[in-house]
Structure formats: C-alpha cells, structure tokens
C-alpha cells in the first residue's frame, strides 16, 4: 500500500491550505457515516472489527452533523434524522443499576453495543464521556432551531437527556466528580487530579437544570492545578495534548478567565498555545532520541502504539506501549505521535500546525489515507520496511476532534453555537469565568 499512500499524500500536499484542510476534514467526517448504526445512531469507537460504540464518539458525531450541513456534505434533513435517531434511542434505552443497562442516573456507560445499546466490556458509567455526548447533544439542539418536527424533537430530547443526569450523585460529597461508577464495585477511586479534559464536564455539571454540581466542586478540582514554568513557558500543566483540546472543541475559552487564570493573567486558549510550544520544545530536545522528532514532528497524546513489547533497536533497549496516554515531558513516550492531536491544534497555532502537517505527510505518507489521519505513527519502529509503524485503525475521537477543530479554525461554528447556549454560559459563570465574550 505504500504507493497508494504516496499518491494520496502527493495529492494532498499539492493542495492549498484551505483545500487541504477541507479534504482532511471531510475525510474525517466520513468516519461517522461509515461507522454509524442505522437503527440506533450509535457510532463505533474505532474501525476495528466488532468495535463497540463509544458514547463520547457519539457526542462528537452529533456535533459534526451541523458542520457537515454547513459544508454541504449532508442535507439538514439527513442530519436532523441522524441526530433524532440517536437521541431518541438514548432516551428510550434502559437506565438502571443492572449491569447490562445503557446507563444509570442519566449517565451512560463508556462503551455500548452498537445495535442494542447495552453496556459492553464491563465499562464504567462515565461522567466525562457522558459530557462529550451531552456537548454533542447541546450542539445539535443549538443548531437545529427550525420548527420542523425533527428539530423540535431534538431540542426536547436534549432538554430531557440533560435533566435526567444526576450530577450530584456522581459528586464525591461536596468534592470533585468521581471518575466513574460500576454496578458491582461502585464509584471508581482513580485519582483525578490536575488540569484535564474534565473542564467541560464541570461547566455542564454546574449548569444542570436539575442536579447541578456544587460550585465548590470546581474550586476543589482547580486547587489541584499545577502552574509550571517549563521550557521557558508558564503553563497550566497537563502532559497529553488532547487534554488541551477536548473541552476547547466546544468552549471558546479565549479571553475569558476563571479565578485560576485571572490569578495567572492567562486564559485557557493561551494555555493551549503554550502547551503546543512545550510539545515542540520537547520534540526538539527529544531526550529519548526517537526517530523523526523535531519542530515539525510532534504530538504526544492518547492513542494506540506499536506495543506492548520490548525490543532492542540500534543498540538501545526500547519499550513500546499499546493504547496509552502519551505526554510531555514526563511520558509516556515511546516515539509514537498522534497526527490528529497535532492537526486539532490548528485554531491555536495554525502556522505551526500546517507546517508540521505537511512535513509529516510528506515524510511519513502512511499516516494519511482516504479515511483521514491514522491514530498513531512511530518512525522508530517499522513493521515491513516502511519508514514508520502506523496504527491500522482509525479512531472516532480523532476524527471528531479533527472535524470540530478544523471547523473552529475555519468558521468558529461550534464556538459560536456554544457561546449562545444558555447552559454553557451559566456553567462558565458558575465556574467563575468572566470577561471577554462572556
């Protein structure tokens, strides 16, 4: 397949920036059409055979349908039909304490059978993945404002699904939100300290019309933040790049500040810019001497990898992981980069991202195919004489964040919709955000 890959990349690289982004964005969106179950609207987590649905990916899909309508890739009627199918299914799917329900207390299990909607893989009831689902639902609700029956039903279902979520039940007393819950073992007690993609979760939880999180929960969570001077940049630290992107897909955080950011004279948008700079600095230093790293080759984030395995390569012991959250500067780092995480940085540092995107595509053409960017590549290891290892699957989260972030870069569509969403504004204000557009 290298020749095919090269041909695709040659074609991509010949395009203008805007045309290139359009191609990649549309290719990413095609994921949702190809992996959507027609009866339930649930979207596969990955392109791997038998992959279940991920509720977070469903949320990304719901937010991407308006993009597709605006870009002319889909009719509004089709988009509304898909959204209403999905939301209707979620509303009517079983909620309860039993282990094979779809959700409980309004939350949904992380992974569901795409056909039946039943919990699979003994996955956890996930507040953060429910958050991304809800964000997609609210996006659809904000976009489909006409009085068509489907649009009306979308808005009604969105309200009902939001109201059903018992955020307080998922809150540890007056403290932070649990990372999850399982029918057999109860709440998960994983540590959830420091800045993370949970920002959006707190915003939506605080704004709940029925069971809002206490304001105190946000204060406690942000009290675990680490403000670090790292590689010459002051930054609210988080290692994996996706953490600096996922909440931003929906929230326009430029020039608005919560208490922490006021204290630091910064904002979360600027913070992501600095996180990108730190990623580049790390790639330039390349302390573990992996192949390929440099100013235009970076992007350590969550994703697949060539492991788990340990190899001796060029006289060095190398350990590779499978799916893991990679990050800088403390790891994990096994030489695997996520091109989608790099591309999703577009609204924050467009020149850097476009330069890196073209460099990576030219040097490692296997990272792109007709379905968009693959989840991971690793130039330190190759399977078959090709210049790098590439993951075989496409991941829904990658495709979703690419579609939304390219769109925010191009038209700010998602940010505009969410800025007008009363729930988003209320949640931000309850979290202490002020200033700017708010």
């Amino acid at each position: 397949m290298p020749d095919v890959a090269s041909a695709i990349v040659t074609e991509l690289c010949a395009l203008s920036d805007d045309a290139l982004l359009d191609r990649l964005q549309r290719a990413a969106f095609s994921y949702f059409l190809q992996t959507c179950h027609p009866d339930t609207g649930l979207i596969a987590d990955t392109t791997r055979d038998g992959a279940p649905a991920s509720i977070a990916v469903v949320g990304f899909a719901l937010a991407c349908y308006p993009v597709a309508v605006e870009r002319g890739w889909m009719t509004a009627a089709d988009a509304m039909a898909r959204a209403v199918t999905t939301m209707r299914f979620l509303w009517h799917s079983p909620q309860g304490e039993h282990g094979d329900a779809t959700g409980y207390k309004g939350f949904f299990y992380h992974f569901l059978d795409r056909q039946t909607g039943r919990r699979v893989w003994q996955s956890e009831l996930s507040p953060v993945d429910t958050t991304f689902l809800l964000a997609g639902i609210l996006t659809a609700s904000a976009y489909f404002t006409a009085e068509f029956p489907d649009a009306v039903e979308i808005r009604e279902l969105a309200d009902a699904l939001y109201r059903r979520i018992d955020w307080r039940w998922m809150q540890n007393g007056d403290g932070t939100v649990w990372q999850g819950w399982k029918p057999d073992t109860g709440y998960l007690h994983y540590g959830w300290e420091g800045y993370s993609e949970a920002l959006l979760m707190y915003v939506l939880g605080l704004a709940s019309p029925t069971h809002p999180l206490s304001v105190h929960s946000y204060d406690i969570w942000t009290s675990t933040y680490q403000w670090e001077h790292l590689y010459g940049h002051d930054c609210l630290y988080a290692g994996p790049l996706f953490i600096h992107q996922f909440s931003h897909a929906w929230l326009d955080l430029e020039s608005i500040q919560d208490r922490f950011m006021r204290e630091k004279a910064c904002d979360y948008f600027e913070n992501t810019r600095r996180a990108i700079a730190i990623q580049r600095q790390y790639a330039r230093r390349n302390p573990h001497e992996y192949e390929g790293y440099g100013d235009n080759c970076w992007g350590l984030s969550a994703g697949e990898g060539p492991g788990p395995k340990a190899l001796r390569l060029n006289g060095r012991h190398r350990r590779f992981w499978g799916y893991v959250a990679r990050g800088v500067p403390y790891g994990h780092d096994d030489g695997t980069l996520n091109p989608a995480a790099m591309l999703a940085s577009l609204p924050f540092a467009p020149e850097m991202v476009l330069a890196a995107l073209r460099h990576v595509c030219q040097r490692y053409p296997q990272v792109a195919d007709e379905r968009g960017l693959r989840n991971g590549f690793n130039p330190t290891i190759s399977d078959d004489g090709s210049p790098c290892w590439v993951s075989t699957a496409h991941l829904g989260l990658d495709q979703g964040i690419v579609v939304l972030m390219i769109e925010n870069h191009r038209s700010r569509l998602i940010w505009r919709l969410m800025r007008e969403c009363p729930d988003i504004k209320l949640g931000l204000r309850r979290a202490g955000f002020e200033g700017g557009w708010l």
Partner: protein, 501 residues
C-alpha cells in the same frame, strides 16, 4: 521503631552483642529520674545521649534491640541491598554507557544479603551501651509499661520520673487478608534475614517500602508483581513523580497492578496464590514469597497509656501538640510513634526538640522544622516543604519552576536523565514553599533546597550560588536562573513568549 518483634535466641540479631548484651543486668533504679525514655531507636537513643550530656538523670528502656527499625530492619539494610541491586541493573545496561556488558550476569543473592548484615553490624558498632552508661544513663532491658502518671514499670522495677519520652516506634502493618497469615509472608522486619532468593514475589503496598524493595528484588533477579490499592505509587507524592517511577518499574520488568486489592491468599503446595481484584475483575497471582509493605502501625499496645493519661489512636499513634507534648504535660513523644511522616531524620530532629522542651524549658515547635524526605527508588524521589495542592488549599498562589534532568549536562553525561527538579515559590515572590526532586541522586540534591528553606534563602539568591560544572545539582541553579529571567521580564509580557522559540 525500637520494638521490632523479639526473635529467638540464636538468631543472628542477638549475635550483635552491642545491641542487647545477653548477660545484661538492669541497674538499680534511681529514686527519681529527670527523664525516662521508652524505646531505644534513633529518637530514644539521641534523646538519651543529649539529655545525658546535659547532666540529666536518664533511664532508657528497651524491650529488644538498640537501634530500632532504621538500623536493624529499615533504612540501613534496605539501602545496602538497593546499592547491590543498582549495580546489577547497571551491569545489565552497560552498553548504554558505551561499555561491554558482562557476558553472564549471575546474581548472588546470598552474598548480597550477607553484605547487608555485615554493614548493619558495622554501623551497629556506633551504638554503644557503654557510651550511654558512661554518661550516666541507666539502661533497662524489658517491657516498659506506665504505672501511673509519673512512673514506668520494667522487669520488676519502678522508674519514677519528672518527665518521660515515648519513642517506641512502629511495626509493619499486616492487612487482614484471609489466608495471609497461614500462607506466610515477609516484612521489612524479616526480609533481610533471607539467604536464598525466592523466584517470584508478590509485593503488597506501593508506598516507600514496597516500591524500594520491589525494585531491588526485581533487579536481584526475582519476578516481582507490585500490588497497590491506590491509582499511583507513593500516594501523596506529586503525580508526575509517581508517573516517572511507574515507567522506571516497567523498564525494570516489575509487573504493576495499580488500583488493585489483594483479597485472599491460598497455599498450593509451596506456592502462594494471591487473589486480587481490580474494578470487579479478579485475577490470581502466583508467588513463592509475599512481601507486606502496606504501612506501619505505631507501637502503643502494652504501654498502659491510659494509666499515664496519654491519649492515642491505635493507627495514628500518640497524640501530641506542636511541642511534642502528649495529653500528659510531663510526657512527650517523638519519632515514628507520633509522626504523620515517619523518617529516621525526623526522629533525630524531634529528639533534640524534646530535650529542649522537656529539660530546658524550651518552646520549640515541630511546625518550625524543615523536614525533607526521600524514597530510594531509582530514580529517587525527594521532597521538602509544601506540595502544590497543600499550598493552594491554604490559598497560597503557587508557581513552579521545573527543570527536566534531560536538560542537565551532567545528567546527560551520566546517562541519568529521568526526573526533574520542581521548585514551588509563592507567586510574585522568590519565597520557596517546597520542592520535589526526581533524580538518581535526589536524596543528595534536595539538601540545597532544604537549607534554603530553613535559612529563608529565596530562589533568586539561590541562583547566585556558584557550583562546580558539571553537577546534577545544576538543575537547582537552572530553576533559579529561570526564576530570575522570568522576574526580569516586563509584567506586560505575562501573556507569554512568542511561540517561535
């Protein structure tokens, strides 16, 4: 600390004549002691020396061995074993230093353990009962037990006191896991007496003891599975430090089981089967030996503390105020038996504090002490002062200056690039609130910062210290340089530097 389980005569411990002479005869008690100390671990011994030198009439009561956990079953033997294990690790990875690895690295576990006991015996010679008696300290062997608010009974004698110190230390906490006792287990009390290497270990507990010994045992050739109930190792440490440690463990080949509880232990012939649960998923681990390292329990049983009016908690130990006074104003506690964080060096510091407060009308406070600590894994993890979360809980704005060891020339030369120096300052000032160092020699590096905190030296001034080049401690200099550079920037530039570096 001073009350490790009494072992049978003939055990090698009792051959260390200086720590509990076999023919010891307790002296006749004085009519009244200025200070009676229960426990001859580091805190008790240091207090006895200090008080004796001051001319106080002192009685020291010990039920087992002088030296306590640190010497006999803790810091000294574990660090000795760790040194051997590091050597084996370096031999295996010699090619990463441009050296030829030995053809066949064969671990001699018995020799490693013999070295542990030899070095322990050597250091034990520094602890001399004769020296104590020479300065007038009366040494009593036997179970000390309060006989009222101002008296201690020991081996048939009653020791009356003006002041008393409880320094009885801790013992390993044994979790109530069904089948564990029947199957048998090791703790830091027993492991250093081994002469043969078990091939497969299951280590319960990801705190300092579990982490240090897991890595050492793995490097000495055993297969090790480390079971930790929490989501990260060294609960309470900075998560980035724990992350680096997890990575190091993986490279060593330790099987890591986080968020995992051991729920049962069974015997299968000579094998021990440990049933574990993680998020409802069960698994069975196979071991030849189990090491329990889940924490320490204070030695408060049998002291008859109620009769003395001393309040305590069975798990947290004796309750003391900031002056180390118990609820009986004439009785103090020091060391592990009353400390939230249990370190030998705190025992020394607290003993000096007790001498001042109990015998010299002092008013020295524990809260005024600057107490660093270190976990001696590879890399080591050292900390002093406040953590970021503690500062923020106190509404103190914090900024952290971070230097990665992979930016430090000497660390690069040494091939010891894993880790960082993080120095936390109060935002807008150079006042150092705390620091964490993760590096191969973090325990040495943290001392610069401890000195600065104790002396009130800010990070700006710390940057003016001239150091030899190259050293790994240059990381501290680099953090100070970053602080000074940042401070010199116009506050209007706080939006951050341009992204073109």
């Amino acid at each position: 600390m001073a009350t490790a389980p009494i072992v049978a005569e003939g055990n090698s411990w009792f051959s260390r004549e200086g720590l509990h002479p076999a023919d010891w005869k307790n002296p006749n008690p004085a009519a009244l002691y200025d200070l009676v100390i229960i426990g001859a671990g580091p805190a008790g011994l240091l207090t006895a020396y200090e008080a004796g030198r001051l001319g106080a009439k002192v009685a020291l009561v010990e039920r087992n061995l002088f030296g306590g956990n640190c010497l006999n079953t803790g810091c000294v033997p574990s660090k000795t074993l760790i040194r051997t294990s590091r050597l084996y690790a370096d031999m295996r990875h010699a090619d990463q230093y441009g050296a030829q690895p030995p053809g066949d690295v064969v671990v001699d576990f018995g020799a490693a353990m013999e070295r542990v006991r030899r070095i322990r015996a050597r250091i034990a010679r520094e602890t001399s009962i004769t020296d104590l008696t020479a300065i007038g300290v009366d040494v009593f062997f036997g179970e000390g037990r309060f006989a009222g608010r101002a008296a201690v009974a020991v081996s048939g004698d009653t020791l009356r006191f003006e002041r008393a110190l409880i320094a009885t230390g801790t013992r390993p906490t044994i979790p109530s896991i069904p089948g564990l006792t029947t199957a048998g287990y090791e703790t830091h009390d027993t492991i250093f007496e081994l002469t043969e290497r078990p091939d497969r270990w299951v280590v319960l507990g990801g705190g300092p003891t579990g982490c240090e010994l897991s890595q050492a045992l793995c490097r000495l050739g055993s297969m090790v599975t480390l079971v930790q109930s929490e989501p990260m190792f060294l609960s309470g440490e900075e998560r980035d430090a724990a992350q680096i440690l997890s990575d190091a463990f993986e490279r060593d080949g330790i099987e890591i089981r986080l968020n995992t509880e051991a729920v049962a232990v069974r015997l299968d012939g000579t094998r021990k089967l440990v049933d574990v649960v993680r998020d409802g998923d069960t698994a069975t681990l196979v071991a030849d030996s189990i090491l329990v390292g889940v924490g320490e329990t204070p030695n408060v049983d049998g002291l008859n503390l109620g009769a003395a009016g001393v309040d305590y908690d069975a798990m947290e130990g004796i309750r003391v105020d900031d002056f180390l006074t118990t609820t009986n104003a004439n009785i103090y506690a020091a060391g592990d038996v009353c400390a939230k964080r249990r370190f030998t060096h705190f025992e020394g510091a607290s003993s000096r504090l007790v001498v001042q407060n109990a015998l010299c009308s002092g008013r020295q406070r524990v809260s005024a002490l600057t107490i660093p600590w270190c976990t001696y894994t590879d890399p080591e993890i050292a900390h002093v002062g406040l953590y970021v979360r503690e500062a923020r809980q106190q509404e103190i704005p914090v900024k952290t200056f971070t230097v990665l060891m992979h930016d430090v020339h000497r660390a690069i030369c040494d091939g010891e690039e894993d880790g960082f120096v993080k120095i936390h300052v109060r935002e807008g000032t150079d006042r150092i609130l705390g620091a964490t160092v993760v590096a191969r020699h973090a325990g040495e590096m943290i001392n610069d910062i401890s000195l600065a905190i104790q002396s009130g030296i800010g990070l700006a001034l710390l940057g003016r210290v001239i150091r030899p080049y190259p050293t790994q401690a240059a990381a501290i200099q680099m953090a100070a340089d970053a602080f000074n550079a940042r401070e010199s920037e116009d506050s209007s530039k706080r939006k951050g530097p341009p992204l073109v570096e």
